[in-house]
Amino acid sequence: MLKTYINSTIFFFKQIRKTIFLNLFNTIITLLIILLISVASIHAFKWLIFKANWKVVISNLPLYAFGSFPPDEQWRPATWIISLLLLSIFTLCGPEWRWLRKNLLIVWLGTIPLGLYLLYGGLGLSPIMSRHWGGLTLTILLTVFSSLLSLPLGIVLALCRQSSLPLTQKVSSIYIDVMRAIPLIAVLFFGQLLIPLFLPLGMEIDRVWRAIFAFTLFVSAYIAEDIRGGLQSIPNTQIEAANSLGLNQYQIIQFILIPQALRIALPALTNQSIGLFQNTSLMAILGLVELLGIGRSILANPEFIGQYIEVYVWLACVYWIVCTIMAVLARHLEKRMTINQANF
């Protein structure tokens, strides 16, 4: 262990000499860049420690996390977020018991009704309207539900696009192409402003769900294309083999095509969900107080006026942390599927 470490260190320095200190010109460039980086980091460090006033962050932590959720009930979203975090850590570092690993997916899916129950209340908890949801809780909620709904829709769209029925094929192609040609913000506007006009009188979908549906409609088009890529890489001989075994069309889709296509599309799907997580911040413009929205409304408070750098640096950190957790989890899932299926 130690020996390989020393060897790799020596190799590292040799590599450095060979690449960035090769001649006078390279050395000057290297030193200049090092100077630039150090000046920038010293200033950043100075600002972080001495100039920045972190009161705007520290005194508002519950707001960032839960928005205007009633203070007495804030343990509910807190429980949800902490249970997601613990489950993530457990998935990454937990023991390798077979039965446990097999059922981990069910536990993950279980966090969804748990989240809904904790946020909405009812059945012993006091009910809370969705307009009180906010902060990181709302951001995570938008991400989880949008990706969860857009995955099946995306699969269906991809299958329709591959279908031999001309009408199905055309409708799905047009849908995908149109959705990919419209900017996300337009789809979100549509969801917030136009959906209520189309619904019959008396029927109402609250704003959070309208946002989730808009995200779902948009993201599913992209997911469909990712999955179509997976489907196309499955050789036709697989389908012939399944046919010759007497499996019908639906069974072939369920047992042969979807599992393989999902495995192949997994890296692309990870990208989509991380992108989706970041795109939820667009809802700040449309009046939902998710993480970015709460930042903006805190900045509108006269007490904290002008402290936008602190707030945005802090928000960037939170987004970065959550994205990193998502990426690490996805890599873990990828690796596990590769082990299980021996890297076909």
Partner: protein
């Protein structure tokens, strides 16, 4: 003798007027082994693939296990045939995302609606027959070509078929792996399985087959018992083909 496969005047043309099948007729009786030989492009794969509906045809009729299919390609009848006819492919075509045992039990569980335990037991029995039961938990990529092909045979057998189709089952294998697959097929023939085998393996054809059907450009050139075909073929075209094979 009860015929399992009766094909009458099968014809299939491609758009350019090329004929993949040209008036092909044949009969295979229960428990018999028919070997189909011919140069590449002669239509032998196309022929064998019409028997379980993987290929359509334009004219003629086939009767498999009493189920008649004509050029309308009735999907329901073909499904019925597929449940009773197994097929083994040149490239094995195992499902890479399923374990060996899952490959074998997939169709029994979902097509024949058998219980999982029962299907697994029978699957393990078939794997031990093929001498590869120790690999049941592995995935296809972890096995050699010969082992994969034996899994493919076990998978075809799992539906307890009354007819087995082999489409060049040894052509994609390393030379030293060919025999393990041929031996498995020999055992099946001895157990009385009805088989149609597209192959270039003369030794196998000589020992195991009851009839050899020789095709060229979509036509049946001749159908003879193996002792006649390999020693004294009736047609000049067959003799030329056998000469070519011998040289390799």
């Amino acid at each position: 003798m009860e015929p399992i496969v009766v094909a009458k005047n099968l014809t299939k043309s491609y758009t350019k007027g090329l004929r993949a099948l040209d008036n092909v007729s044949l009969t295979v009786d229960k428990g018999k082994v028919l070997v189909v030989m011919g140069p590449s492009g002669s239509g032998k794969s196309t022929l064998i693939r019409t028997f379980n509906g993987l290929e359509t045809f334009d004219k003629g009729e086939i009767n498999i296990l009493g189920i008649k299919v004509d050029s309308t390609h009735d999907e329901r009848k073909i499904q019925k045939i597929r449940r009773r006819v197994g097929m083994v492919f040149q490239q094995f075509n195992l499902f890479p995302h399923l374990s060996i045992l899952e490959n074998i039990t997939l169709a029994p569980i979902h097509v024949q609606k058998r219980r999982q335990i029962e299907a697994e037991e029978y699957g393990m029995y078939l794997l031990s027959q093929m001498g590869i039961d120790s690999h049941a938990k592995k995935y296809p990529i972890q096995l050699s070509g010969g082992e994969q092909q034996r899994v493919a045979i076990a998978r075809a057998l799992a539906l307890k078929p009354e007819l087995l189709l082999f489409d060049e089952p040894t052509s994609a294998l390393d030379p030293e792996r060919i025999n393990e697959v041929l031996d498995a097929m020999r055992t099946l023939a001895e157990q009385g399985m009805t088989m149609i085998v597209v192959t270039h393996e003369i030794g196998f054809a000589k020992d195991v087959s009851d009839q050899v059907l020789f095709m060229d450009s979509g036509k049946v050139v001749e159908t003879s018992p193996p002792n006649i075909f390999f020693s004294n073929a009736r047609h000049e075209r067959s003799r030329k083909f056998l000469n070519q094979l011998d040289k390799h």
